[in-house]
């Protein structure tokens, strides 16, 4: 039972993809039972007894659990028909004896909880006589009791000779079931050994490495007016108390936490993209209707989404068209677009954000990541927002463009915008934010002032089993 630990972007998922044959390595070699192992296709890995269970359950929803477990490994009886009795026996054997879970075998797999679905996937791997089971952040999508069940099942695997590689940042789970630990950082193993050798502080130190670089801090927001007031916003998974936070004009509130902590969902909920079941949102004192993107944007709430290609841009449209997309009603007269006003808007956007495009008629698809992100920014700035929510804005952007982006954020901050920044890049978070809220498991675990938001502090807060602390 080995744990693979590393921060976001450390390279764990890539490693898993290589082991399971989804991706080919550039260099180096793998040994399986002492012999070279080079899977070129997921099927090779499967045949060698390696199976992976990911966060998104890989099941056919309307087929029964039994059929799902036996998928691809069906037992044929005499006469060429399926041997239901034999299959049922095998499945029950695995579920009851090996995993010791109670899952309704005839129910459609889609009706199970996510945790149960993951157990079904594990069972499928065992039917294939998997020798190595890789679990990729299983608890990221699980809640409460589910997690107990899954980990209980996992811990029983070792007694049946199955090796498990568990990728998780939940130290509590790791300490419960794992024997050894490997710590990743920036694509390399930085530490490895039996679990007994490590304590939480030691693990975090290895995950993080050195401290972050210099910070530029200007005057704090202090007593400026509260622009965004989120009170007890309830989303599925955030718990009964909901999430509360306040952002002042000219303030950057960073939200940190590890994958699956609910940060993206929070900002998407505030902007109306994600469904909420309770709580309130106010902008400059005005109440904003939840669950409505139009209400949010009409009140000045703007979201720069995590996946700009899919959610932020119409990739086949031109730079110019994308930039004016959100405010067409302002440049239209009687339903027809006023080209002069549109041009003026586009030129202003390109100038203010220094967008490097061949021309504004170029398709956005052809721009670099950094330029694309600027177009998304320009689009929403044209709408004159009061609150800007940034969801992993510098993902996939080169260093130079990142620096330009930081400058833009600082300017916006000085212009009085209330900014919420969700980022997995801890140095970035510490550098840009006035204060950082740390989220874990759908709740805000605590707050750190911008200057002292070191990576260690953030990780410690994220991984601790702390009590829920609301915004004061």
């Amino acid at each position: 039972m080995q744990a693979l630990i590393g921060g976001n972007g450390a390279g764990k998922s890539t490693l898993v993809s290589i082991i399971t044959g989804v991706v080919q390595p550039d260099a180096g070699e793998m040994l399986l039972d002492g012999a070279p192992f080079r899977p070129r296709h997921p099927r090779d890995a499967l045949r060698s007894g390696i199976a992976a269970v990911y966060q998104e359950p890989s099941i056919v929803p309307y087929m029964s659990v039994l059929d799902n477990i036996m998928l691809g490994q069906e037992i044929i009886g005499p006469g060429g028909l399926l041997n239901w009795a034999a299959e049922r026996a095998r499945v029950r054997g695995i579920l009851h004896d090996v995993l010791q879970v109670d899952v309704p075998v005839n129910a459609p797999a889609g009706s199970l909880s996510v945790g149960q679905q993951q157990v079904v996937e594990m069972a499928r791997a065992l039917v294939r006589n998997a020798r190595l089971l890789i679990l990729d952040e299983p608890s990221a999508v699980l809640a409460g009791q589910d997690i107990e069940h899954v980990f209980a099942a996992v811990s029983r695997l070792s007694s049946h000779g199955v090796s498990v590689l568990l990728i998780s940042h939940r130290l509590s789970d790791i300490t419960e079931i794992c024997d050894a630990v490997t710590i990743f950082r920036d694509g390399e193993v930085v530490s490895r050994g039996p679990l007994a050798q490590y304590d939480m502080a030691g693990i975090i130190r290895q995950m993080v490495g050195r401290d972050i670089g210099p910070e530029t801090r200007s005057a704090s927001a202090g007593d400026r007016a509260i622009v965004l007031d989120v009170d007890r916003l309830e989303l599925p998974g955030t718990g009964p108390a909901g999430i509360s936070l306040k952002v002042r004009a000219g303030e950057v509130v960073g939200i940190g936490g590890l994958m699956g902590s609910g940060r993206s969902r929070l900002v998407r909920a505030v902007s109306g993209c994600e469904h909420t079941t309770g709580g309130s949102i106010r902008v400059a004192g005005v109440s904003v209707r939840r669950n409505s993107i139009r209400a949010a944007s009409r009140n000045g709430i703007v979201l720069i989404p995590e996946d700009r290609r899919r959610m932020g841009l119409v990739v086949n449209m031109s730079v110019g068209s994308n930039m004016t997309l959100a405010v067409l009603d302002r440049i239209a007269r009687f339903g027809f677009l006023d080209h002069r006003r549109e041009r003026a808007m586009i030129e202003r956007g390109i100038r203010e954000l220094s967008i490097k495009a061949g021309s504004d008629t170029q398709a956005v698809r052809n721009l670099s990541g950094g330029s694309q992100q600027k177009v998304v920014l320009a689009k929403w700035l044209a709408a004159e927002p009061k609150v800007m929510l940034l969801d992993e804005p510098t993902r996939g952007i080169d260093v130079g463009a990142k620096a330009e982006f930081y400058d833009i954020v600082r300017h916006l901050r000085e212009a009085g915008l209330a900014i919420v920044l969700v980022s997995s890049d801890l140095p970035e978070l510490g550098m840009l934010s006035d204060r950082v809220l740390v989220m874990s498991g759908g709740r805000i675990k605590g707050e750190l002032p911008g200057g002292r938001a070191s990576e260690e502090a953030m990780l410690e807060m994220a991984m601790a089993k702390a009590q829920l602390r609301d915004e004061p």
Binding site: I59, V60, M63, L71
Partner: protein
């Protein structure tokens, strides 16, 4: 997805619910026109009329289970109808060989469909719609007027019965039971449902998705071709466009019977109920002597009602 909410929903999800409507229609017919409905010629006509639709619907269901669709079956049946009669031209000895040729043609077209859908990743709707037009054109090119003739023994067989039940209906039952067994109890059947339910998961479980899909279209093609041959046997000659509209009726029967157009869900029992319903409605028109205008309206309303109540909500 919530599991089993209520008796009706559960019946609906297994496709058996549509049989309730079928029963209702039967009762209505018996009450009003019992003697006419239950007359042996009428029953025989009802059963034999359901054979062509039944065959095509089985094939259609298998294709729809893969999240695909086959719009070409009507044109294919029309084509094989005139081809069969035209090529046999009354010569008894050719009846079986030409039948085999016809079936091979259906299979070949199925391979063509399957290949385009899997290897070239074209949308099934467009692929089979194109074939619909192509086959229709080929049919017209071959003949625009009734052509050829089927040997007497073939036509006689079509109308022969075992007791009150036509032989061809028995054949339909046999094919239906056989394919039903394949769907529910064979490895191919399970792979079929998996491919329709979630193609990515199926592929990652090691299932040969390409082969599953191609085979589905081949089955549909063979059954549609056979249906055309039966149409020729019934008329005694090859009447152009005799299969026209079959594809839509088949799809209706399949959907009414609880098969989801999104693939991966559906039972043969339900589809059989759909076929029964449509055939009954058609028969009712004859028994009640309803005019053409009302026929269309009633058929449409019945299908809509059945779908609204009993089909899988996607």
């Amino acid at each position: 997805m919530r599991a089993g909410a209520g008796w009706l929903a559960r019946r609906g999800s297994s496709g058996g619910a549509v049989w309730i409507i079928v029963l209702a229609v039967v009762v209505v017919l018996m009450v009003g026109h019992g003697s006419a409905f239950l007359a042996p010629q009428n029953l025989a006509a009802l059963l034999s009329a359901s054979v062509v639709l039944g065959l095509v619907s089985i094939g259609e269901m298998i294709v729809i289970l893969t999240a695909g669709i086959d719009l070409s079956v009507g044109s294919l049946a029309s084509l094989t109808c005139v081809l069969a009669a035209g090529l046999i031209a009354g010569r008894s000895a050719l009846a079986i060989p030409i039948l085999l040729l016809i079936l091979a043609l259906g299979a070949a077209i199925g391979v063509f469909h399957g290949f385009l859908v899997t290897k070239l990743r074209l949308a099934p709707f467009i692929v089979t719609l194109s074939t619909y037009f192509i086959l229709e054109g080929v049919g017209f090119g071959y003949t625009t007027v009734p052509i050829g003739s089927m040997p007497a023994w073939v036509t006689n067989f079509y109308f022969s019965q075992i007791g009150p039940v036509p032989w061809i209906f028995v054949i339909l039952l046999a094919i239906g039971l056989g394919l039903g067994l394949v769907l529910s109890r064979s490895r191919y059947g399970r792979h079929l449902y998996a491919v329709g339910g979630d193609r990515v998961v199926a592929r990652s479980a090691g299932i040969n998705v390409t082969r599953v899909i191609i085979l589905a279209y081949v089955i549909s093609g063979i059954l549609a071709a056979f249906a055309g041959y039966l149409l020729a046997a019934q008329a005694g000659t090859g009447v152009p466009s005799s299969g026209s509209g079959l594809e839509l009726s088949a799809i209706a029967a399949v959907v009414v019977g609880g098969t989801s157009l999104a693939g991966g869900r559906g039972h043969l029992i339900g589809m059989a109920g759909g076929v029964a319903l449509l055939s009954l409605v058609q028969n009712a028109f004859q028994v009640l002597a309803i005019s053409g205008f009302y026929q269309g309206v009633v058929r449409g309303v019945v299908i809509l009602a059945a779908v609204a109540i009993f089909s899988q909500k996607d």
